[in-house]
């Protein structure tokens, strides 16, 4: 039943390009395509996976899907950024590593280099070929030259993490991960040539839902609720982003004053004898706190803000999918109405087209609901991680400062005790 659903959603030509049917693990999924929550029984493939996990600690450190790790059989990583300089342009490529036991892949391991353009291409292809599914967002494509340095370590690092997240989300999706474009992206030596993919490209575009021109219908309640939620959530994301930025600004100004404050202790120390060490000590502690504060600021702008912004993009993607669903519904109900009218007039049977549309809509709704649940669950994990990360950064900051002051205190108090014994002697 599941296979039929997917077969209907894509054109027959595309179907023939599938190397073989999906592996047995798929049969254990729920009918709406959601991943299995409980671990599958021990099998060679899952044992292999567990071993893989041990080899690659990075795969689940920041990964919210650790519960489903044992059913996973496709692992992807984006790392190792490198700058390429050619006569025409300068750009960055990233290493995309794949480890898999899936039969769709000829080899168990792949290693290719890809640039942002390639990721963009992949996303476009996924959107075209899987219009009923939510495709994870990519980091911003355009950056204002002169404002942001596209080749700075920070920018590249942030972008790379976002690309890694994107690919991992795709790889963990029960439907998207089997998309042939993904396969090509992960395995093709040279994506630019796109020989074998030319057909795919053409085919992909023919699948695009062209539902323009149909009057939009009222959304079913559950999708309305989704839309409303997304609007509110988006708003809150924006607010949180502004607050975080404001905090960064205030902290930066605090840091400036704090640095100056520390130097006053040091310059005072120079004119003192007995008090020199204590004053220098305080100056040193303040300097340490400055360093810790600097780290906190860096951490927040590199780890916190980009993820927040990514979710704004994610919300946009989700809204787009909702809109596409609306269009699909519009087309169906439009055709249905027209057909009913014609049927009333000249008793012609329900055209096959209308039934196809109905299937499309039902398919869309089901996929969307499944993706929504998955998205909600991922969002919960992502934000749990994000916010605990923020808390951790702040805790670490305070711990560093506390340690510095405590060690100074011991020194000062020891000297004080020493002096007291000298006095009494």
């Amino acid at each position: 039943l599941l296979m039929e659903k997917y077969q209907n959603a894509v054109s027959p030509d595309l179907m023939s390009l599938f190397v073989s049917p999906p592996p047995p693990a798929q049969e254990a999924s729920l009918t709406n395509g959601a991943p299995v929550e409980t671990p599958s029984p021990a099998s060679t493939s899952s044992l292999f996976n567990r071993l893989q996990l041990d080899d690659d600690p990075e795969a689940d450190v920041r990964d919210p899907y650790t519960e489903t790790a044992e059913t996973r059989d496709l692992f992807v990583t984006v790392d190792d950024p490198k700058k390429h300089v050619s006569t025409m342009e300068t750009y960055i490529t990233y290493r995309v590593s794949t480890k898999t036991s899936r039969v769709e892949f000829d080899l168990p391991e792949y290693c290719v280099r890809r640039r942002y353009q390639d990721f963009d291409w992949l996303r476009m292809k996924l959107e075209d070929s899987q219009p009923t599914h939510l495709i994870p967002p990519l980091p911003e494509k355009f950056v204002m030259k002169g404002v942001v340095d596209r080749f700075s370590e920070e920018f590249v690092e942030t972008r790379m993490k976002a690309l890694d997240k994107f690919l991992k989300r795709v790889a963990d999706h029960p439907v998207l991960s089997f998309n042939p474009h993904l396969n090509a992206f992960l395995t093709a030596k040279d994506l630019n040539k796109r020989q074998g993919l030319a057909l795919l490209t053409k085919v992909g575009e023919s699948v695009k839902h062209v539902a323009g021109g149909y009057k939009l219908r009222p959304r079913p309640a559950e999708f309305c609720a989704m839309g409303e939620y997304l609007d509110t959530f988006n708003q809150k994301l924006g607010t949180i982003d502004r607050i975080a930025q404001r905090i960064l600004k205030e902290q930066s100004e605090y840091l400036t004053e704090l640095r100056e404050y520390g130097t006053v202790y040091s310059s005072w120390a120079a004119s003192e004898e007995e008090l020199r060490r204590p004053l220098e000590g305080v100056g040193g502690c303040v300097a340490t706190c400055c360093g810790a504060l600097d780290d906190l600021g860096d951490g927040m702008s590199q780890d916190f803000l980009p993820v927040l912004r990514e979710y704004v993009l994610y919300v946009e993607s989700m809204k787009n999918v909702l809109r596409k669903r609306d269009q699909s519904q519009a087309e169906y109900e439009g055709r249905l109405e027209a057909a009913i009218l014609r049927k009333q007039e000249d008793r012609t049977p329900m055209p096959a087209e209308v039934e196809k549309c109905q299937d499309k809509v039902e398919c869309f709704n089901a996929d969307l609901k499944a993706d929504w649940e998955r998205w909600q669950s991922n969002k919960r994990q992502d934000f749990k991680l994000l916010l605990t990360g923020m808390a951790d950064k702040n805790i670490r900051h305070y711990e560093k400062c506390q340690a510095a002051w405590e060690s100074l205190l011991t020194v000062l108090q020891d000297k004080q005790a020493e002096d007291k014994t000298h006095e009494t002697n």
């Binding site: 205030e250 605090y254 004119s271």
Partner: protein, 394 residues
Amino acid sequence: MLCDVTAPVADEASALMEICVAEAEKRNGRNTVNMQETFTVYLVETRPMDAVAEGRNPAPDSLWRRYSEFELLRNYLLVTYPYIVVPPLPEKRAEFVWHKLSADNMDPDFVERRRIGLENFLLRVASHPVLSNDKILHHFLTEADSRLRALSATFRVRNPDKRFMEMKHYSDELQSHTSQLLRARVRVADRLYGVYKVHGNYGRVFSEWSAVEKEMGDGLQSAGHHMDAFAASIDDILEEEEHYADQLKEYLFYAEALRAVCRKHELTQFELEMASQDLVSKKQQHEEIATGIVRTFSFKGMTNKLFGQEAPEQREARLKLLEELIAEGEETVKEKTVECEEHVDRAWVDMQRFKEQKDKDLREALINYAVMQISMCKKGTQMWSNAKDCFLKM
């Protein structure tokens, strides 16, 4: 603005003038250590009082003076009239209260209050029966040159005790550093306040957000409360820090007192030197008259050469007078020497005591400061850990 005077008044007395400090302006220039600085200058305007009384309205004479010049004037008056209670100047620096918007000398309110204070000072001095006759004061009000600066040089002592000079230099340093520290601390406190308070916004947005979430709602809501608590915690923290600021302020003012002791030494030493010089010159005069040998150029010597010697009776009379003056002078020198030595001994003892007290007190203050910082860090860690627990429950 009119000055009230009851004592006999010299022609050039400042009491005969209408005085006001009309305006204040910012200037940029180089200071004594050749560093760029911004400072405020005040416009001192004067008009002869009789002109005002007669109904004429001549344009006032005016010149710009900065605070440090007022200080020089006052120091000169202190030294020259040690038996006079000299009117004080308004405070040199702005108060160090953290919740004020601006605590620096450029704050317009501070400048305005200072302008009034400086005017008040001049009026009091100019209406004083003794001080108003002072030439230097008159100069300060009417001549725009910096004779005051040269004057302060001539009051420099020739043989001050080196330890006292070092101590005076140290008191300047102490004053400078404590005031710098207090100012910097205020700026830091202002900023830190801002950082903590902005976190309160998280409380509100988490609460709003939790309203649309199912499983995440509770965790978010309670985390928001911890963020509110975090934002509120800064009030107590900064309140406590005021105690540390007070300890620093005490030593800021102590530095002034230390400086005063050093200046007193300068004064006694100066008076001793003056008395000694006076005695020496009188003895020389005596010798000249007694031996007839003119060692140094003197007007009397010249007139004697030009217009002939004086009569022996006159000579005897002068010698007798000089002997009396010399005897007096020797007494004065003895007294001044004792005064100076006593001051040096007693002051040195107390300055040592002060030094030990200062070292002990300030070390304790720094220890307390470290303790406060540790407490602040612990509170911060606690709050964020509480928030983290809530996030984990999301």
